[in-house]
């Protein structure tokens, strides 16, 4: 397939830095859309603010570029109004879990059929390399010159506890796995989350001496392991990848439709 069929070519090359993992996520997402046979008209992409949010400009879907952290709230309004559309909401780590943390946990709880993608580069890229709630202790950042003391969220634990019915994590090194998870998330009925470790060579990489983009990808390869794998069992310090949650539960949109059907049988009130 040619991923270029799904992009607004006049806006490319994109503005992401050389080696930025966000482009790889976009690449996998377009392959997933193609694999699912979705039409460009069936997809609404809503983004917030940050490097991640640029994605809305590049894809040839219905696109909305909104406010920092609020993309899921806008998407909720769209999905409640037009349940037949596929809502895809790519977010950065700060976008999703700092300023947007409340919207994220409530979207998870409600289980409205939306796909959230957390492109986790462990840093605020657009504003110049400040730490995020996913950076973790020891990360060097422009607002943590001596290393961050802030504990990090585990996005998978959070999504699971808040009620998301599909939650998976992978990295931009594991591109086939990434496409599979995105396909799983989009076809899942209910709120789905895919967390993708995405390299930021410009800020995270330079501040933390990780080397260039290929070196960062190697780290993703070497520092993660599949859930249930022998490697993970033997090396519990590795970061687990895989599908953490995949369960059936009543989707909010369907629950609301049923509420409406039952209410319509009552006598009118006013």
């Amino acid at each position: 397939m040619n991923v270029q069929n799904y992009v607004r070519k006049r806006f490319l090359p994109h503005l992401w830095c050389p080696g930025c993992g966000h482009g790889t996520v976009l690449n996998a997402l377009l392959r997933s859309v193609d694999e699912l046979g979705l039409s460009k008209e069936d997809i609404v992409m809503v983004t917030g603010i940050g490097c991640s949010a640029r994605m809305a400009g590049y894809v040839d879907f219905h696109t909305m570029h909104t406010l920092h952290g609020r993309a899921l709230a806008f998407a909720t309004g769209i999905k409640m109004s037009r349940p037949e559309l596929n809502l895809i909401v790519p977010m950065g780590d700060g976008d999703a879990l700092a300023i947007g943390g409340n919207h994220f946990i409530h979207a998870s709880r409600r289980n409205l059929d939306i796909t959230a993608i957390i492109m986790n580069n462990h840093i605020y890229g657009m504003t110049g390399g400040q730490f995020s709630p996913l950076s973790g202790p020891g990360t060097t950042a422009t607002t943590a010159p001596r290393g961050s003391i802030d504990p990090a969220f585990d996005a998978m634990d959070l999504a699971k506890a808040a009620g998301a019915t599909y939650a998976a994590r992978t990295t931009t090194f594991h591109v086939r796995e990434l496409q599979k998870m995105l396909t799983g998330a989009i076809s899942h009925k209910g709120f789905s989350v895919v967390e993708v470790f995405s390299q930021c060579p410009t800020y995270y990489g330079r501040k933390n001496n990780t080397g260039d983009a290929p070196e960062m990808l190697k780290a993703f390869r070497d520092e993660t392991a599949k859930i249930g794998s022998k490697t993970l069992d033997e090396n519990p310090e590795l970061i687990p990848r895989g599908v953490f949650v995949d369960r059936d539960a009543v989707d909010y949109g369907e629950a609301y439709a049923e509420l409406c059907r039952n209410a319509a049988k009552e006598a009118p009130r006013c």
Binding site: N2, V3, Q4, V7, L12, P13, H14, W16, C17, P18, G19, C20, G21, H22, G23, T24, L26, N27, A28, L30, R31, T172, F173, V175, R176, Q179, P201, D212, A213, P214, L217
Partner: protein, 65 residues
């Protein structure tokens, strides 16, 4: 195999060359990615999936001898 590289999209990050299992691609510092050994390409597609710039397309060409 045919390796199409959209050089005006490529940002020379080097990821394709670093992970190509057969060394079919190379990226010199400051240069765009190039298919330096097309014969070696097995069409695995890893480079086109890894490319953050959507700049690579692999086309499998049936070659009749």
């Amino acid at each position: 195999m045919q390796i199409i590289i959209k050089t005006d999209w490529c940002k020379s990050c080097g990821i394709c060359a670093a992970f190509c299992p057969t060394g079919a691609l190379s990226v010199e510092p400051g240069e765009k990615a190039r298919a330096t050994d097309v014969e070696a390409c097995t069409g695995c597609g890893l480079c086109e999936r890894l490319c953050p710039d959507l700049a690579i397309e692999i086309i499998k060409v049936e070659v009749s001898i």
